[in-house]
């Protein structure tokens, strides 16, 4: 049982990730690229994702340790590995996080004004991050003995997570031959949320004023949550799974968000793009349960001061001490509503297209001759470029930088390879493949392929896949 628990914990720790969809970004053959930049140039007449199968993505990574770091059969003492690689090897900036998205519905169509392309759908998303709680681990591993005046930082507890459904509607509008703008509105329906990101305080042992030692706790901590009450009820057979589903369809917490994006052709072959996603919030007002620990107390053991103690002969010194600490540092529960801001993401890219031009597939005549009016929007066989990704996290922005090469094989297949550097990996090579078989579009992407040499040593893993039906209209 212990082993199973450990594997689960380390599994979670090992799979930490950053939500970066660097391969999907600006991969305009795939309709889902509109989800990471609503200003992507879509040349479809319409598309429809296969419900539940149109888009599944999973990402996980760890900037700290991997399973292999601890459990490799390398003859080293586990205690040495644990001390060196976990306790002394990680810092509070190391994080453990994960993200998944499953599209329930995704479709798009071109408007009567063919400059406008609309897309909409619903997806379910889960996202969580936990930073390494270093001082808590140090206190639990070594204790406070012989650490006089060492302040154990209670702010090292920093974590958040959520599960929600997102209902979205977006429009991508061709402004002129050079510029496409995109906007997507989102309604968030929160199912589950927990957040504890603004903790402050410390625990310290000093020389006592009266007694030998003084233990002081100074805490300003809070864990806010919503939805767990429902999950708890289902676990205890007191509720139905329908209650959980209801929360995902406007029966729980609600929020609003926006995505913006654009694609701009600097010249016939050079393109710059950018997008900002999930600029929004969720108001948690249902099934809220918060815990708080706030106050300051110093303890120097049971104190018997005479003559006061003689005058109060029946004093319960120990219980009085407990009561005093609980009064000074109360642990409280409340049901106050709260707001969380979504982890906002920013993408940007610079792409250079070259090689032969690819003939337009549909009725939207791009008039791709070099001298033609729409020559800016011509697709080329090759693209090369760089991308930037930034996500807002509890300890500040996290960035990733990618270099990519995209190869189109006619209108049938496109392949994108990317090298990405971020806090999780310096050797992240990923490949994405989009295949068009008649109206059926299949795509698959995977990251950090070199890690497949030894999955246990991987600090990052991600994949995305999906199936769509696409029409470009009649020629």
């Amino acid at each position: 049982m212990h082993n199973i628990l450990l594997i689960l914990v380390l599994g979670v720790c090992n799979f930490v990730l950053s939500q970066n969809k660097q391969i999907l970004y600006d991969f305009s053959e795939i309709p889902q690229s509109l989800m990471v930049n609503p200003g992507t140039e879509a040349d479809f007449q319409w598309y429809s994702g296969v419900p539940m199968l149109s888009g599944t993505s999973f990402q996980a990574g760890s900037s700290g340790i991997s399973v292999n770091d601890l459990f490799a059969n390398d003859g080293l003492d586990i205690n040495d590995k644990f001390r060196d690689r976990v306790i002394n090897g990680m810092s509070p900036k190391d994080d453990l996080s994960g993200n998944y998205q499953i599209e329930l519905i995704n479709a798009g169509y071109r408007g009567k004004n063919t400059d406008n392309f609309y897309s909409f759908g619903i997806y379910n998303e889960g996202d969580a991050i936990g930073y390494w709680f270093q001082d808590y681990a140090l206190l639990g591993y070594e204790g406070n003995a012989d650490k006089l005046n060492k302040r154990f930082d209670l702010g090292d507890l920093k974590t958040r997570g959520e599960i929600l459904n997102v209902f979205h509607f977006g429009v991508s509008k061709k402004i002129d031959n050079k510029l496409t703008l995109g906007l997507r509105g989102k309604l968030y329906s929160g199912i589950l949320d927990f957040t504890s990101t603004k903790n402050k305080g410390y625990f310290v042992t000093n020389e006592g004023q009266n007694n030998v030692l003084a233990n002081t706790i100074n805490a300003d901590m809070e864990l806010r949550s919503s939805g767990f009450v429902v999950f708890d009820a289902v676990n205890k057979k007191g509720g139905s799974t329908g209650d959980i589903i209801k929360r995902g369809f406007f029966g729980g917490d609600l929020g609003l968000g926006l995505d913006f994006g654009f694609t701009y052709h600097l010249n016939e072959q050079t393109v710059v793009t950018a997008s900002i996603l999930d600029l929004g919030f969720i108001y948690h007002s249902t099934d809220v349960l918060n815990y708080a620990l706030k106050g300051s107390a110093t303890v120097e053991g049971v104190e018997i001061i005479l003559p006061d103690a003689i005058n109060n002969g029946d004093t319960d010194f120990w219980q009085d001490l407990i009561d005093e600490v609980e009064e000074l540092v109360p642990f409280e529960e409340n049901n106050k509503n709260y707001i969380t801001f979504r982890p906002t993401k920013l993408y940007g890219s610079l792409r250079y297209n070259f090689g032969e031009k690819i003939e337009s597939k549909g009725s939207l005549d791009c008039n791709c001759n070099v001298s033609g009016g729409n020559s800016y929007r011509a697709k080329y066989a090759n693209s090369i470029g760089g991308q930037l990704y930034v996500i807002n996290r509890p300890r500040g922005p996290q960035a990733a930088l990618s270099a990519f090469y995209l190869r189109r094989l006619g209108n049938v297949m496109a392949i994108k390879a990317a090298y990405t550097i971020d806090k999780y990996s310096f050797t992240n090579l990923g490949v994405g493949l989009s295949m068009q078989v008649g109206p059926v579009n299949l795509y698959f992407m995977a990251d950090n392929l070199l890690a497949y040499q030894n999955v246990a040593a991987s600090n990052y893993a991600s994949f995305q896949l999906g199936i769509n039906i696409i029409s470009w209209g009649k020629k």
Binding site: L6, F71, A72, G140, Y141, G143, V212, V302, Q453
Partner: protein, 182 residues
């Protein structure tokens, strides 16, 4: 260029197809040992010379009180060993003795720590360390302690006067215990 594209696909498929995992030994978890050491003050007793003078040649303070931190399961089930350190400083003009008795829930005396005599000022600070576990005293004393009885006796008269500005008898104590977390 087509060859490059095909190569990319084949490369990816090859990597995925040949994904593997080096041998892991999760049994190592059983060998992981986590035994932090915690320390804190335990009891502080302070009495003025005026209080001591109330009872010449006899007991000036005796009190039994609940003391549960050692018997709490979170500690009692996990403690490995430890040491309690006592420090006594007497700046009064009296010779004294102090007795600490460790009692279980039903009042049975598990152990007694006697400090006697504690000489009047000027005298050195008396320090004593009592080790529990391993080759020291039995850990059962600690983990079964639910009450402590303090008895303090004045071994002198009630007429002497200390030359110190604030004459006191002070007993300080702290504990340092190793606790097995894993």
């Amino acid at each position: 260029m087509k060859k490059i594209g095909l190569f990319c696909v084949l490369f990816a498929l090859m990597l995925i197809g040949h994904s593997c995992i080096e041998e892991q030994d999760f049994g190592q978890y059983d060998d992981l040992s986590v035994i932090p050491k915690f320390e804190s003050s335990i009891i502080y007793i302070e009495a003025t010379e005026e209080v001591i003078n109330l009872a010449p040649n006899t007991t000036f303070y005796s009190q039994e009180f609940d003391f549960n931190p050692f018997s709490e399961s979170v500690f009692a089930d996990r403690v490995v060993d430890g040491v309690i350190t006592y420090e006594l400083e007497n700046t009064t003009s009296k010779d004294l003795d102090i007795k600490l008795e460790f009692l279980d829930e039903s009042g049975v005396i598990l152990d007694t720590e006697i400090f006697s005599p504690i000489y009047k000022a000027p005298s050195a600070v008396l320090k004593r360390e009592v080790v529990y576990g391993n080759t020291g005293e039995s850990l059962d004393i600690i983990i079964n302690t639910s009450k402590i009885r303090v008895t303090a006796n004045n071994l002198s008269d009630n007429s002497s006067v200390s030359t110190q500005p604030e004459p006191l008898i002070v007993l300080k104590s702290s504990g340092k215990f190793s606790v097995r977390v894993k």
